[in-house]
Amino acid sequence: MVAQQVWIGAAAGFAGDRPDSSGPLIEALARHDGPRFLIFETLAERTLALAQLDRLADPARGEVPSLKRLLWPALAPCAAAGIKIIGNFGGANPFGAAAKIKAWAAELGCAGLKIAVVAGDDLRGTFTAADFARLETDGTLLSREPEIISANAYLGADAIAEALDQGADIVVTGRVADPALVLGPLKHSFGWADDDWDRLAAGILAGHLLECGSQVTGGYFADPGVKDVPGMDVLGYPIAEVDPDGTFTITKPAGTGGLVDRRTVTEQILYEIHDPAAYLTPDAILDLTQVELTETGPDRIRVTGARGWPRPETLKATVCFDGGLLAEAEISYAGPNAKSRAALAIETVVKRLAHLHPSLQVRADLIGVVSVFGDTAGARLNATIPNFADGDLRVRFAAETADRAAAECLLDEVEALYCAGPAGGGGVRKRLTPRLRSASCLIDRKRVTPQISLLEMA
């Protein structure tokens, strides 16, 4: 039977999202009949590679590390209300994640749940480093054929829809296109055809608006006095109410903080979009240039006008490899003439490193004056240094290298400023972080076969 309306809530927009967001969503969804879904988007570009490193260290791991924190509070209430869960929290080990979820469900007394695993995104068995070097887009990071840590294709919605068709209550995936977490349940519920491009595009747009969780309900938006958002500490996460023709309303649970209005939705429509007439996904190409937003009530925006075009013959893949070490160290100067002392500290460290490790590029930031707006070459900082006022200043140094000795040298030289630097330097902190780099490839979709496995609960 084709559904009349579908409700989808988004409880997480990234792995570090709030674990208590699902409660109000589940309460709101539980008040409706018909198909209802709760999605968790947890895989940023690098998250999967970090998960792969976890799995190499321990074959039972490799799921998104926050899986239990995010999912545990939602499992029993979703099961009780008949709300199905879809998440890419499987990370580098969807089968391992599913086994854990199965055990937690048993522990929570949720009997008879069907858990499905969507796999097939891992490309390391299909392509070599040389293949990836040839298929790289927007750069040449892979041309030296580094040792690859993870390589995953962005799968589409079909496998998720099929898993739901087979009766899954929980669908665990690795890498899928983020909007597919929403398009999958919509294809399952409405039976949209594979070439119904406008409807698929509408579902992709709904997914695009939900995939970052609270970013459409007042998160990443508040600017006090200009764009005020009530209740940032109790933000409501979004719900899409979708009609069979693909038009939908974005809203949030009653009694929560945050807001849904034209401005929050417009900002999120264009988030991480390049050409608005051609947003490429595995399932269709979305054209959002004709999208219109209508306020239909408090915290309710109706979204119409998505148009779709046939899906691309290629899939995007993200390839991660070792990126050396990031060395960061900071020191503070404050009070009279702090700016000159801070500038002298920068000059001193840069000169020292030029002698000790001439090939190391050292970045300097002056936190509170020029840091995040600055460029690594220092053009903006150098133009600012003569003109800013004294204050409570923090100098930050950063460098990246595969040479541990050079990285440690930078940290040591910043610490040495305690004695051998300008007057009144305090509060040194230093940190060495292993890095993962990532690159994008376009691959022939025929080389990728999604696999669906169903785990039955006893």
């Binding site: 750069g139 764009k227 429509i269 988030y271 408090p298 707006f373 070459a377 903006r380 780099r437």
Partner: protein, 126 residues
Amino acid sequence: MTRAVSLYELAHARSGDKGNRLNIAVICREPRFFEPLRERLTEDFVAGVFRDRKPSAVKRYELPKLHAFNFVLDDVLDGGVNGSLGLDGHGKTLSFLLLSAEIEMPEGLLAPADEASPERMSGGSR
């Protein structure tokens, strides 16, 4: 007559990243700002704001139905979040770098000076 105002008084914005590419959605606080900003907030203007980062390309997309523009800047994120030496490799703060740019606007389009505070420009519906 024109007056220099910061883009912040005319628009709100959100930035997003993919690799070493930054996009900034600029959304007019009032629909009437769209046409004058279309003339003034050009690709060259935005490239100028980001000149320190040496963008290899700046592309503007227009969304008249949303009273918005989408700017896509190539190679401005110091390699992107996994490669940048900066604190904000995502470029999440950079929407506010663009919003802090000053732009010459026709006096008649702007609210009187005493009403031009951001509080009056919230454009909210609530």
